[in-house]
Amino acid sequence: MTSIINKDPKVVVQGITGREGTLHTALMLRYGTRIVAGVTPGKGGQQVQNVPVYNRVFEAVNNHNADTSIIFVPAPFTRDAVLNAIDAGIKTVVVITEGIPQKDTIEFIAKANKNGDVTIVGPNTPGFISPPHSVKVGIMPAHVFKPGIVGIASRSGTLTYEIAWHVTNAGLGQSMCVGIGGDPIVGLGFTQLLEMFKDDEATKGVVLIGEIGGNAEELAAGYIKQTNYPKPVVAYIAGRLAPPEKRMGHAGAIVMGNVGTAKSKIDTFTAAGVPVAAKPSDIAKLLNL
């Protein structure tokens, strides 16, 4: 498999004229990301940070060969924004928006799957960053990341920055860091990212940052065990003290019955030979690179 996430993307920002869209367009440009166009229905013809704004995604694709979209539109309109991006031929859609109804996510992920080669990152993700390529399609603070050899996949935002900071301070840096999103239903998952990191020569070790809710971590552990994964992996699981059936901030961070407990995730990783860090500062050490 080639890289699921494009390391030289031509990015269109959907919702570019909004407060978040404008702010992060400037920050992504400053980091070095190639932002070729923005889209806000009804605001076509304007410019934001010298980036041309269009009414429709397909205009951005036709005029600028955009292949990646980052979405900042409000939750009630996100479904349509993602469907438009897929219809226009966008291959990677990064959905920053939080608070999208699960039914809408089910619909646009089904559409992406039917179109074969469309990757949805998120929803409710900080996006992805590749420091060696100076590419950031996301909202993460750039200063905690440095070019390096660790691949990070995470269900979290600020906790990812916390851990990336420790990895940076340990002198390792990151080859790529991807937020898979804090929602119950997300597109790109841990297992696909593990496959990508396996084939990526720049990546020498992998950090998985999980949390309570669902079984994505258990599946990742199963994959690592089955494939006898060739690179060192370290996991961290947030939410050991979460009471059952309470949503811990993220829509997806909820223990239902016996499903989704921190204990189950920690036990499964341990059984697969993946060390689970007790605290964020232990991770770099456990990677042993």
Partner: protein
Amino acid sequence: MKFFEYEAKDLLRRNGISIPIGYGAYNSEEAEGIARGIGKPVVLKSQVLVSGRGKSGGIRVASDATEARRIASDLIGSTIKGHRVDSLLVEEKLEIVEQLYASVTIDRYARKHVVLASTSGGVDIEEIAQTNPDAILRYWVDPDVGFSIADAVSMLSPFSMNDNDRRKFATVISILYKIALEHDAELVEINPLVRTPSGQLIAADARLVADDNALFRNPIFREKSFRRGEDTPREAEARKQNLAYVDLDGDIGIIGNGAGLVMATIDLVQLFGGRPGNFLDIGGGAQVEIIKRGVILVMSKPEVRVILINILGGITRCDIVAQGIIEGLNESSIKKPIAVRLMGTNEEEGVRILHQAGINTYPNMEEAAAEVLKL
């Protein structure tokens, strides 16, 4: 958001699924009156949002109105698994020929709605899954295709039942799917779905959980969203103020930006031997007002003795957070010690503001957590 049984049943009834004759009672006199009106044995069901009500004595049968009154006075005001019983559902006692199970929920992994049906209703679906896995059928719905009665009939074909019964069962589960879609339900469940001697299917018990993210387009749910049965009083107050807050048992208040970071902070405090008293995520890019409200809320929890605030600034600005903390402290009637971890955007200004007010700051969360344990 979870719904009480009587609310879930009301939604089923409005969509054409039969429910038992019954009414809500807030005191024993009302319960007696309802039982007299029904005129045959009744079931009194405590309206609490916990599973296993029956096993905990929250569901009782009364043979007549006098007995209903006596049982109602036992149940109302009692506590089931920590939840106070404020109301009862008083219903006709059904004659049961068979107990079925039906639900629609969201499969996070398959990224689809999944319909579940069983002929072994009346016990927890998790229990059926363990003791009799073959008695459960599952159908993952393609969102582009939907789930018609015909799909439901073919789904149920492995069950041995006559065509008429199968069609009735199929109708019920196809309605459940329609409800799940129309109202953005994460779970809609009937257990048991009772077949009576006349062959009718009646939803004897029901559960409904709505997707919190979709309340904006479900006006019938939205009005309820600030008075949820599953919230503690402080969680309800936080929800009103738009704060992501969960009560915990300990004495160390926890505030941070980002759900994962707050969970990690809680875990760290526990690892160091402390007992976290709450979860509070101020979110990304928080403004002074929300931070102030968060500080006041946690400060006012009697069990909280000290507070740890963990901020890793990206879009969140440390100076804004510092201002919010100061304002929250100033407006709190009881002041408790605080330790603050500040790192990131405008860190220096934030640190300066807090130091001026005599509040200690730390550049990393482990130092801050270790320090708060000494306070």
